[in-house]
Subunit: 492 residues, 2 copies
C-alpha cells in the first residue's frame, strides 16, 4: 500500500489545527528558548504539522542494525585500540586545534593517571545513527554515526505525542473529526525514557551493580543553551523513573562547581558524588573558544575522574568522519565484528554509500578526481560535529583549490543520498511553510562497556528522531534554525 | 509538631532553584500567556517557590465537607426550586443587567422548551469551595462556593509536581541535597484527572450510561484567554484517559460554529454531537459586553439544547453570594440536607463566618450599623464572580453612602477572616518577591444530578488548589495579576 497523502485541510481547519498545535507544544514542553531569550519565556520548537511517511521496512532495518553499530564503534576501542589511536594521531595533525586537542586530553589523562591507566574503565555511549532513505530503493543510507551529545531524544518523544494528539483529536481529517492515521502508523519514540535508562545503567554499574540514588549525573551543557528543554525531559525521566538527580554545569564552571577526592568527582555545593558525566557540550571548537585554557583543563579534569563519561574522549573521537569512511569496508567490519552473521553483515553494508579519503592512496587519487570533476554528486566533510561545516556539490572544487593539497586528507568525500521529497508543512513560531521537505531518521542507541575487560554490559536501542528540512537547504540542524523535529508515519 | 520553617537558601542556591524552577514550568506546561501575547510563546505562571504550610486537620476538614457542600448547593435546585427562584427573582431586580439577564435566560429556556420543560434534566456541577484558615483556631472558614468556571485545577496539579520535583532534587536543602519535605507532606492535587473524570461522567450519562467517544465536550472560553493552559491540561486528560474530544468556542462564535438538530447540539464543521457544554466563560458581565445580543442569545441557545451544561444557568445562579449568606443558617442547612448527621452538620457550620444581608430585616438593620460603624471587620460583596468586585474595610461606608439605600440589599456583608501570614516567596516572570503571603484553599468537587428525578448520579471530591497573595493585597486573583498558584505543605 502506498502512503496516504498528507491531510488536505482548508484554511480554517489549518488555523484550528495551528492553535491547538501551538498550545499543545507550550503545555507539554515541546519548546525551545528563542534567540536572546529571557529565562521565563519559551516558544514552540520548530516542528512539522504532520508526521512524514517512512516505509516500515526502512524503519525496521534502521532499528535492526543499531545494536550492531553500537558494538562496531566501541569495538574500535575494545579490540583495536592501537589501530584507532594511530588514525586519531594522524587526524590530530591535520586538525591540531580541535581533534588534536581532544587527543591530547586523552593522552594526558592516561599519562597523569595512576599506573598510566584510566581509573574508570567503564564508558557509556549514547549514540545516534543518522540515515536518509534512498528515494528509488527505499534503502536506508547512513549519513553519520554520532558518538557525542546526540540531541532531540527529548523533543522527539514530544512531537510523537503531539502528532498523536492531533490525530486522535480529528485535526487531520478534512471532512469529519476521524482519526486519519491508525495508532500503529504513528508510533511514539520512547527516547526520553530509554536515554534516561542508559544513564541509569551507568549509575548502576558505577555503584557496583546497585541501584543507588545517592550518586548523581553531571550534565555538561553549553552556556545559554536554547535547546535545554530537550535535555530537561531526560533529566526529569531520570529522576522520576530512577530517583537519580542531575546537575548542569558549563565546561567553564567545572572547576568552580566540582571537586575531586580520591579520584571521585563531587558537586562542591552539596558533596553529591557524580557517577556519570553526560556531555551535551564539548563536541565543537566553539565550546572551548571563550576560555580555552579553562575549558580544556575542565575536560581533562573530568576525564581523569572516576565518573563514567558519556562519552569518554576516545569514544567521542571514534565518531570521526574519517573513521566512518574507513568503516564502510567489508573487511574492516568483519574485523571489528568477527561474529557477525552473513545477514547482519549485508544489512550493515547496505546502509553505506561510497565515502572516499582524499589522500595519496589509489582510492584517494580517484576521489580527488571525482571531487573536482563530478562535485554535484558529493558532499565534502571535515572532522567536525554540530552542523554547518560541510561543503556541498559545486562549492567543493573551489574550496579544495583554496587550501593546500596536503590538507585534503583531513576531509572525506561522501556520495550524496537522494531522499524523497515530501509535501509536509513546517511551523516555526507562528509561520507555516509549505516548501518540499526531506527527512533524516536518527536511531538512538545506548551501550555501556568496559575498556579494560572488553566486556559489553548493556547494548540497547533507544528510540528515534525524525528531523526534516526544506529540500532546498543543504544542512538540517534544528537548533541552528535550518530544520525541524518531525515524527514518522509508517506505511508498508 | 509545628511546621518546619521555609527553606533558607543562600543567594546562589536561590538562583539555582530559580533556573530549575523556571525551566520546569516551561517544560511541563505550568505556564500562562503574558498580556498582549503571541500564540507561540508562553511564560511561567506566577507561583510560590515553596509549598505553604497548612494544618493537616484543616485540610482534612475541607476535604470532608466537600461532598456535603456539593449536595447542599444542588439541593437548592432539587428540593426547593421555587424558593430558589423567588430569591433569584428578587436578586434580578437589584442586578438587572447581569443576574437579571441570566435569570431571563433560565426563564426563556423553559418557556421555549417543549412542554415547558428543559430537554436535558441532567446537570453537571464542577464546583470549588474556597477557604481560609483562621489564624488562631486553625479552623477553615469558607470564603465562597463557586459554581461556575472554577479555574486552576490544571495548574494546581502542575505546581504540586513542580514542588515535588524541587524537593526531590534537593533544591530545598540548604546544606546538602536532601529532601526537605517528606513525600506525604507535599501531596499533589489530582484535579486534572478528577475534573476530566467529572466531564467524562456527564458524557457517560448523556449517552445512556455507555462510554461513548463519539460525543464531544464543548468548552465555552473567553476570547484571548491567557489561562488557556490550565484548561488544556483538563482537555488532554479527557482525551487521554477517556478518549473524549473537546472543542473550544467563544460565546460570540457559538452561533457560527454550532448547530442544533432535534435539540441535539452539534459542531458544524465536523457534525460531532456535543454531550457537555463546559463554561470557562459567561460568569461575569464583561463576558457579554462586546456583543450582548449575540452572546446572551448564545447562552440561551446552549441552555435549550440537549447537551448537559456545566453549569446550567440555575446551577450557576445558585452560587450567588446572597445564597451563600442564606445558607449560613443552621435551620436552612437542615432543611436542604435533611439526612445530615450531627457531626457533619457541625463540620459544615464550623466553616462559616458571619454573613449578613443589608436589607430591612432586623438582621439587616444590625448589619447596616456594623457596616458603617465597624467596617474594618468586614468585606462587602455584590452578586459577582471573577474577582475585583468587593469593597473592603474602611471603603465600605463611603461606598454605601454613595448608592441609594434601596440598592444595599444587593450586597452581603461578610466578616473578614484573618488567615496566618507566611514567609513564602512568589515568583512572577523572573522576579522573586519576599513579602508576607496569605493563602486560600479551594477544594474541587464534581456532582452530576437530575433536576427532574432529584437523583444524584455522582458526587466526588476532585482535588484542590492553594492560591496565595501578598498579605497586603485584598484580592487574590491569579490571572488578574494579584495572586499566584501555590501548593500545600501538610503538618500535624
Ligand atoms: N551523504 C549525504 N547525502 C545527503 N545529505 C547529506 C549527506 N551527508 C550530510 N548530509 C546533510 O548534511 C547534514 C549535516 O551533515 P552531518 O550530519 O554529517 O554533519 P555534522 O556536522 O556531523 O552535523 P550534526 O552532528 O549536527 O548532525 C545532514 O544532516 C544532512 O542533511
Ligand atoms: N471573608 C473574607 N475574609 C478575608 N478575605 C476575603 C473574604 N472574602 C473574600 N476575601 C478575599 O477577597 C477575594 C475575592 O473574594 P470572592 O472570592 O468572594 O470574590 P469573587 O468575585 O467571587 O472572586 P473569584 O470568583 O474570582 O474567586 C478572596 O479570594 C479573598 O482573598
Ligand atoms: Mg548529522
Ligand atoms: Mg554529527
Ligand atoms: Mg473567590
Ligand atoms: Mg467566586
Amino acid at each position: 500500500m502506498p502512503a496516504k497523502p498528507f491531510p488536505e485541510l482548508s484554511e480554517s481547519q489549518t488555523s484550528d489545527l495551528k492553535e491547538s498545535l501551538l498550545q499543545w507544544t507550550l503545555a507539554n514542553g515541546l519548546v525551545m528558548y528563542p534567540p536572546n531569550f529571557q529565562d521565563f519565556s519559551a516558544n514552540n520548537a520548530p516542528i512539522t504539522l504532520f508526521p512524514t511517511p517512512l516505509p516500515k521496512s526502512s524503519f525496521q532495518n534502521a532499528q535492526d542494525v543499531q545494536k550492531l553499530f553500537n558494538e562496531l564503534y566501541i569495538n574500535l576501542i575494545l579490540k583495536e585500540k592501537s589501530w584507532l589511536i594511530d588514525i586519531l594521531r594522524k587526524l590530530s595533525k591535520f586538525d591540531a586545534d580541535f581533534t588534536g586537542k581532544l587527543f591530547e586530553v586523552y593522552e594526558k589523562a592516561i599519562e597523569q593517571s595512576p599506573n598510566k591507566k584510566l581509573i574508570q574503565p567503564l564508558s557509556l555511549g549514547l549514540f545516534r545513527s543518522d540515515y536518509m532513505v534512498h528515494d528509488t530503493t527505499n534503502e536506508i543510507k547512513q549519513i553519520e554515526f554520532n558518538t557525542v551529545s546526540v540531541s532531540f531524544g527529548g523533543l522527539s518523544t514530544k512531537v510523537g505525542e503531539l502528532h498523536t494528539y492531533l490525530n486522535k483529536s480529528g485535526y487531520y481529517d478534512s471532512d469529519y473529526s476521524y482519526q486519519y492515521y491508525d495508532d500503529e502508523e504513528i508510533p511514539i519514540s520512547n527516547s526520553i525514557n530509554e536515554l534516561a535508562q542508559g544513564l541509569a545503567d551507568a549509575n548502576y554499574y558505577y555503584n557496583d551493580e546497585t541501584k543507588s540514588t545517592k550518586t548523581v549525573v553531571l550534565i555538561v551543557v553549553q552556556p545559554g543553551e536554547r535547546n535545554c528543554f530537550d535535555q530537561r525531559h531526560i533529566e526529569y525521566a531520570l529522576l522520576k523513573n530512577h530517583g537519580i538527580k542531575t546537575y548542569r554545569v558549563t565546561l567553564e564552571d567545572v572547576e568552580a562547581k566540582t571537586t575531586v577526592n580520591d579520584s571521585k568527582l563531587y558537586i562542591k555545593a552539596t558533596m553529591d558524588e557524580v557517577s556519570v558525566v553526560y556531555y551535551r557540550s564539548g563536541y565543537a571548537p566553539s565550546d572551548y573558544e571563550v576560555n580555552p585554557e579553562k575549558t580544556w583543563a575542565a575536560r581533562l579534569f573530568l576525564e581523569k575522574s572516576k565518573a563514567i563519561k558519556s562519552p569518554s574522549v576516545l569514544t567521542q573521537l571514534s565518531g570521526a568522519k574519517k573513521i566512518q569512511q574507513i568503516l564502510t569496508k567489508e573487511e574492516i567490519i568483519k574485523q571489528f565484528l568477527p561474529d557477525i552473521s552473513e545477514t547482519d553483515l549485508e544489512k550493515i553494508l547496505s546502509t553505506f554509500v561510497a565515502i572516499y579519503p582524499l589522500d595519496d592512496t589509489p582510492e584517494g587519487q580517484t576521489a580527488k578526481k571525482l571531487a573536482l570533476e563530478q562535485p554535484e554528486k558529493f558532499v565534502l566533510k571535515p572532522q567536525r560535529e554540530g552542523g554547518g561545516n560541510n561543503i556541498y556539490k559545486e562549492n567543493i572544487p573551489g574550496f579544495l583549490k583554496n587550501i593546500d593539497e596536503k590538507e585534503w586528507g583531513a576531509y572525506i568525500l561522501m556520495e550524496l543520498i537522494e531522499p524523497p521529497k515530501h509535501k509536509n508543512k513546517i511551523i516555526r513560531n507562528n509561520d507555516i511553510y509549505n516548501e518540499d521537505i526531506i527527512s533524516e531518521l536518527g536511531i538512538f542507541g545506548t551501550i555501556l562497556f568496559n575498556e579494560d575487560s572488553g566486556k559489553i554490559l548493556t547494548n540497547n536501542n533507544a528510540g528515534w528522531l525524525l528531523r526534516s528540512k526544506f529540500s532546498s537547504s543543504n544542512e538540517g540542524g534544528v537548533a541552528a534554525g535550518f530544520g525541524c523535529v518531525d515524527n514518522i508515519y509508517l506505511y508498508e
